[in-house]
Structures are given as structure tokens and as C-alpha cells.
Symmetry: C2
Subunit: 477 residues, 2 copies
């Protein structure tokens, strides 16, 4: 394949967007992803061994799109691709890459190369790159780094994973409140090695404790001679360095923060967190719940397949246990079933519908817990709410299935039994759906991980038991 001029229509990226003219604006409505024929052209060029063509195709991409491209191609094409575009494989691409893909690429690099990439990164991205390495490899990389960068990363790694300390950047602007706006601007202009990525200036006291914050727009809109203490806002949301990243994300979301100061145990300013790092966490934490509820682990499509099988299989084996438990309830009623096989036909309806209703409640409760909407102040109200919903659903479904069964099989007794069992199992589903995750949460167990097993066990067991039990107890069989 020869070197073709880049056709702007093949890529739907930010860059393409910036050339927006009327005729092209429709293209912007596409899907934030690389078009498939563009990816195919890159892969064709790779297969043809035409590195020049590959480079020409990839060169105009934003680093985030290069990361996307690396994720889109087959695993065995990635080495060839990175070789062809080695100039373009900057720290920003590594920062954007999926963990598993990055790990595979990093495995092929020397400690020196990794150190070089890490040094170009902001501290938080460098930490993300290094924290997954084997301890010896991590040491080797750190040894290759400049002392200052190294110290910053080591101090970040000293904080527990998924805390503010890992997430924060050590590049921020902090000044004394005696400064005027004009003096601050001079300070920023004259000191070339200060941070360039900042959205507010933190005002600190003599002990380096935050006393206020100035958004940059306030500074730009204020006269030079005004003191920062007259511009700054004193009410400021601080992030303790040991705070869990999920709580950091909720705090950013609640108070609509763009950046925030991170303080250590003694209240001293040690870093800043910016919202672009938090956005990923919000997305991840919300995705995590859906994936954990269904036992899919991280649900990362780039994860090595053996790891995925192990995660999913262990969940399935646990569920096999609960399925066997439920079927042992059925086995208590084998005689009744042998006499009246219609029971076996109808029993999955009762257990299945309970499972569906329980899952509904569970999904709502797990999200409400994760977003701090379900608190000890409103727990009782929420339990009563779910019970009322369960009662309403149970009565409706019980009436529906009970009447239909009675009419279809000319057997009002059977209709009454399945209707009553449906009501009972809906109540079980509602109660389990809310009490299980609340209880797990209070015991500091992530309710998304294990709630579903308990809830479906409850609805399966009680579904079979209520239906078959009522049938026998009321003399139907």
C-alpha cells in the first residue's frame, strides 16, 4: 500500500471536528470512535509491512485516539503497530491506554524506556503506570528516574491504592494571602518551572494550610492592586489525602468541583486533584456496580481471557451451589410432582418472577447506596417503600397468573396456590432486595459483589417452597 494523503473523512476525531465547516458538520454527529474502515486501512498497512503508510495514517490522531486504535486492533498486531509509530507513542498515549493493553506493551519495554515515559507524565498518570508493575521492575524503573520525579512517585505509592494520595498531582499553585492580583500574575509569569495545568490558585497560611481559593477567571477579572484575600473564596472543599477515590468522586460531583486541594493529616496542602481524573473514576465506579452485580468482575474486554474465565467461573460455581440448594427444595416434593407433573411446569414461573422482582429492587438499592442517597436517615422509609411496591406487584402478578391458571387448567385450587405463592415470593424478593445490600453495606462488604447470590437464593428457594408447599399443604396433590 502506498502513502496516501490522509482523507479527513476517514477519521471522526476532535481534530476533524476543529475543521468544522457547514458541509462537514454532519460528520460530527458520529460516535466518538474511529471509523471501522479507517481501522481496517491501518490494519491492511500493518499486514503489508508498510510502516510509512501506518505512520501517515496514525500521525494526525489525538493521543486518546491512538490509545483507542491500539485497543481496537488484535493483540498480536500491537507490537508491529507500536514499532511503526514509535515516535507517536508518547506518555499521553500510555496515560490513556486500557490497563491490560498498557501492561502488555510495557512488558516489552526496558526499565529505561518506561522511566522515560513516566518522567513525561503527570505524577498521577506515572503512578498508574508504575503501580501495576512487579516490585523488582518498579524498583528498576524508579532507579532510572530523576530524583525529583522519583521522590514524587514514591511518596504517592506510599498511600494506599485508590486513595486521593495516589490520584493527586503535586504540581499546583499555592501562594500567600498577602499577595495582590498583580503580584500573583508576576509570580506566575516569572517562574517558568511552575505548573501549567491549574484551574484555581490555592491561598495558604504560613503553615501551608489552605485558607481559600481563587478561580483563575476571578483573578483575570480583578484589578491588579486588589489583594487576593479580597478575591478568594474562603469556603473550600478539601480532600483528605487518605480519602477513598469513590468518595473523592462523589465530593467532586456534589459540589461541582473543577479541582480541589488535597491536605495531609495536619491540614497542610500536599497536592491537587483535577476533575478530568475524577471523571474516569465516576464512570468506572458506576460500571463496576453493574458488572459486579452480574458477577462479571471488571468486565474489561481487554482482559486476558483466562483471567476473565477464572472470574466468571468462580461466580458461576457459587451460583451452582445456590441452584443446587434451591433444587434440593424441589426434591422434597418429588412425590407430589410425580403425581401431578403440572406443578413442575408452573414452578419455574414463581421462582423466576421472584428473581426478576428481586433484581429490580437490588439494582435500585445498590445504586442508591453507591451514590449516598440511601442513608441511615431514610433506610426505614426506603424499606417500607420497597415493601409497598412488592405488595402492589405481587398482588397484580398473583391475580394475573392465578386467574389465568385457574381458567386455563379448569382448576381454581391450582390458580389460588400459584397466585398466593406469587404474592409471597414478591414480598420475599422485595425484602431480600433491600435488606441484603443494606446489611452487607453496614458490614463493609461491597453490596454489588455478593448481594445477587443471596437474593436469588432467597427467591428461588422461597419460590419453589411456597408454591410446592402450598400445593401439598392445601391438599391439591
Amino acid at each position: 500500500m502506498s502513502l496516501e494523503p490522509l482523507d479527513p473523512d476517514t477519521i471522526d476525531t476532535a481534530q476533524a471536528a476543529s475543521e468544522a465547516v457547514p458541509a462537514e458538520s454532519e460528520r460530527l454527529d458520529a460516535d466518538n470512535m474511529l471509523k471501522s474502515d479507517y481501522v481496517r486501512r491501518v490494519r491492511d498497512a500493518l499486514e503489508a509491512g508498510d510502516d510509512g503508510a501506518v505512520y501517515a495514517l496514525v500521525e494526525p490522531l489525538h493521543p486518546a485516539d491512538i490509545a483507542d486504535l491500539l485497543e481496537q486492533v488484535e493483540a498480536d498486531e500491537r507490537s508491529a503497530l507500536t514499532r511503526a509509530i514509535s515516535d507517536l507513542m508518547g506518555s499521553e498515549v500510555f496515560a490513556e491506554l486500557n490497563d491490560h493493553v498498557r501492561e502488555a506493551l510495557v512488558d516489552e519495554l526496558s526499565a529505561e524506556d518506561i522511566a522515560e515515559i513516566a518522567e513525561e507524565m503527570e505524577t498521577d498518570d506515572a503512578v498508574a503506570l508504575l503501580e501495576d508493575l512487579e516490585p523488582e521492575e518498579q524498583q528498576a524503573v524508579l532507579a532510572e528516574m530523576e530524583p525529583e520525579e522519583r521522590a514524587a512517585i514514591e511518596s504517592a505509592l506510599a498511600y494506599p491504592e485508590e486513595t486521593a494520595g495516589r490520584l493527586m498531582s503535586r504540581d499546583f499553585i499555592a501562594v500567600n494571602e498577602q499577595l495582590t492580583v498583580g503580584e500573583l500574575i508576576h509570580y506566575l509569569r516569572d517562574n517558568k518551572d511552575l505548573a501549567t495545568e491549574f484551574w484555581e490558585v490555592f491561598i495558604v497560611d504560613a503553615h501551608y494550610r489552605p485558607v481559600g481559593t481563587c478561580q483563575l477567571s476571578w483573578i483575570l477579572r480583578t484589578d491588579r492592586h486588589i489583594a487576593l484575600s479580597d478575591v478568594m473564596k474562603r469556603d473550600q472543599t478539601l480532600i483528605p489525602v487518605t480519602m477513598d477515590q469513590e468518595e473523592v468522586a462523589l465530593r467532586f460531583q456534589k459540589y461541582a468541583l473543577i479541582s480541589a486541594a488535597v491536605v495531609d493529616e495536619s491540614g497542610r496542602l500536599v497536592g491537587q486533584i483535577t476533575v478530568d481524573d475524577v471523571v474516569h473514576i465516576i464512570q468506572e465506579e458506576a460500571s463496576e456496580d453493574i458488572l459486579r452485580l452480574s458477577g462479571a468482575g471488571d468486565g474489561d474486554i481487554n482482559e486476558p481471557i483466562l483471567m476473565t474465565v477464572r472470574t466468571r467461573l468462580s461466580w458461576l460455581v457459587v451460583n451452582l451451589g445456590t441452584a443446587i440448594l434451591a433444587s434440593s427444595v424441589v426434591s422434597l416434593f418429588q412425590d407430589a410432582i410425580a403425581r401431578f407433573a403440572l406443578l413442575a411446569v408452573l414452578m419455574p414461573i414463581v421462582s423466576g418472577m421472584g428473581g426478576n422482582a428481586g433484581t429490580q429492587t437490588l439494582a435500585v438499592v445498590v445504586r442508591a447506596i453507591a451514590t449516598n442517597q440511601l442513608t441511615s436517615s431514610n433506610t426505614i422509609r426506603m424499606v417500607l417503600r420497597e415493601l409497598r411496591i412488592a405488595m402492589a406487584n405481587g398482588l397484580s402478578l398473583g391475580l394475573l397468573i392465578g386467574t389465568s391458571t385457574a381458567l386455563l387448567f379448569h382448576n381454581p385450587h391450582l390458580g389460588a396456590v400459584i397466585g398466593a405463592a406469587m404474592i409471597i415470593n414478591n414480598l420475599v424478593a422485595g425484602l431480600a432486595g433491600i435488606l441484603v445490600p443494606i446489611t452487607l453495606d453496614r458490614a463493609n462488604v461491597d453490596p454489588a459483589v455478593s448481594s445477587a447470590v443471596f437474593v436469588t437464593t432467597a427467591t428461588d428457594v422461597m419460590g419453589f417452597f411456597s408454591f410446592l408447599g402450598l400445593a401439598v399443604a392445601t391438599g391439591l396433590v
Copy 2:
């Protein structure tokens, strides 16, 4: 209850955080939520009719926390609470309130009051407030507003719901590229009615089309005489005004944006979107998937209960249909079950495990589609990946349950039948789990809403059919 001095320990808020001193810093690790004994004290004061005490308790709260408080108290306490703290019920509180709670409060206000609140809000929040009103009420409120605000809101309401046009703010800074840094700063200082909330300055050409963007930090760090054209970045992510909010959120996330320019069909700058508005969308969209997959609608715990029952019940009725379909498969085998009731005991294991495996795949695929990770470039690879996982899981589980059954019931034939059925149903689960959401997505149906019905129907029907069918076909019964 008498007026007590506010005990700072009762509230865990941003304000409390800002007073951080060593002894108090542990408090910061709490849960981003109002403490329950604080909420109880507010409710006690409300019940005692002591509006002064209520006011004193609530006054130090951040607007976002006042909104939280209103959500935490019972629905019938909200009117009394808002009366007691009417001074504090500013536009920021309304902007932060849950939709349903806000709607209920707004119902009690006159058009004039609503207009007054809306005028204080940023356009995007005012639009969110007004878009849910009845058309006549909306007109009445708009009639009470200042012409300028009114025009801004009306133009936003002209865009479809959940698009960039609804989300954007019309307050932004745009200047010509001939300006120098010093001239820009003068312009910002001298024009008092310019926006105060902005994080970048957009540079536009004579036709008001964006040509570049300057982060405020770059401006602050550059000498006065430098031209903006030398400071600005030309590559810039633009948002078309009709873009869906979910795509807007993904674009912000992908390119780590703090704010972005919104352009109309002719490429002219018409607004800006800031990341704080996008953070809510990311959270909502990710939550939506989990709630829709489980048929829980919006899953909003503040939704009126009748609305919740309607949503959940309609999902359950659809599932009742599929459960009846599955049980009709069982009814084909009633004779076999009557002769050998153990089949009825074991059959829920096969169908249930298929359901679990299908849900795992479904959760992964739905998230991968929602985050643009599953594209037409890698669909085939992902289908093959899920099939391999399904095969590995099916073989493991089939072997496990097959051997156990053979040993437990001294019946190798029964073991072989359930083992084979388990393998078949895992493959069905894996295939349905990925093909159903992909097909729905291609047909422009939200895969989160309806995938689960199809997948569980497939795993239930095939679970029963493969197990009972194999039992009969191989002469076990």
C-alpha cells in the same frame, strides 16, 4: 427545642472540611453525607414547629447539602422545611435537587416565584427547571422573566431534550485572535457584565467560528504583549449543538476536557459546556444501564411510588410472558417428568446457570457498547472471545454437575444428559449475551432496556429443552 449553637461535629460538609485542623481531620473521612443525628435534629425542630431552630441548623449548609437534606426528610415534611428556610432556598438549591423532589416543591410556587429562581440560575439549570413544567405553566413562567433570560431559555428549549443545546451555557468568553494577552485582560476587567464562570477563552474569527482556545493558566503565565494567536491551541474539541448528551459526556471523558465550545450547524460558536454539568450525565448514564438491564426504570428512590410500580410491573409482566413461554417447553415433557420426577428437580439448575452466564456476558457487552469500546472493528473478535469463554465455562460446569449427578444418583446416563445440557446452555447464554445487545444497538434500540428479556428467554427455553429433550431423546426416561 431552643436555639442551640451549631455543633460543628454534627455536619460533615465542605464547610466543616474547610476548618480542618489536625484533631478534626478524621471527620473528613466520613461519607459525604449529612449525619443521621443532624437530620434527626432538623426533623425534631420541624415537628416542634421551631422554625428558628430549623433555620439555625440549616443556615451553615452548602446549597448541595440543603438539597440533600430536602431529599432525606419525609415528603410531607418538605413544605414546612422550605417555609422555615425560605431565605436559604436559592436557585443553587433548586439546581441541585432531585427532579421529583424539585417538581413537588415547584408545584407549590407561583409562576412569579419560579421565574425569580430561574433568572438567578445559569441557563442550563433554568432549562432543567422549566423543561419539566406543563406547557401552560412554562409559558406563564417565561412571561414573568426578563426578555434576555427568556430568549436564552426559549432558544435552549428549541433544541431536542438531552442534546448539547439544552446543556450549554450561553455565558462564555470569545475574542478575536488579533488581541494580545494584555488587551484580553483589560477587556475582561473593564466589562463587568461578562461571564464569571469560565475556564478557557475561545478565539473566534470574523464569522464567530472558533479557531482556537486558551486555557486561563496559559494566559496568566504569558507576557502582556504576546498575541493570543501565539498562546492558543488550534486543535480544539468542538461539540455540535445537536449532539446527544451521552456522546458529549464520552467526548469530555476521552479528551479530558474541562470545558468545550458548542457550535451550530454553520460552525458558529453558540455556547460552552463545562465539565461539572457533564459529570452528572456520566453518572446517570452509567447508572441507567444497570437499572434498565434489571427493568427498574429510572430507579429514582424519590419517584412517586405509583410511577415506580407502573414501570416495574410492566417489566415484570413482559417477563411473565417469557416465563410462561419457557414453562410451555416444560409442559411438552410432562409425561417424562411424571415417570421420573428427578428431572423436575434438576432442570432449574440448567436454566438458572444459563441465565447467570448470559447476564454476565450481557453486563459486559452493554457497558462496552455504552462506552464505545465495542465497535464494528472488533465485533467479530468480541463474539469469538465470548464464545471461547462460554465454552470454557460450559465445559467446567458441565463436567462438575455431570460428575456430581452421576455419582450422587448412581446414574451416569443422567449425569451425561445434565452435563451436555449445561454445555449447550452456556453456549446459548454466551451467544445470546453478545448477539442480542449488538443487534439491538444496530437497530438503534437501547440494548440495556430490552436485552435481558431476550437473553433469559433464550437461556430458560434452551435450558429446559436441552435437558429434558436430551433425557427423552437418549432414552433416559
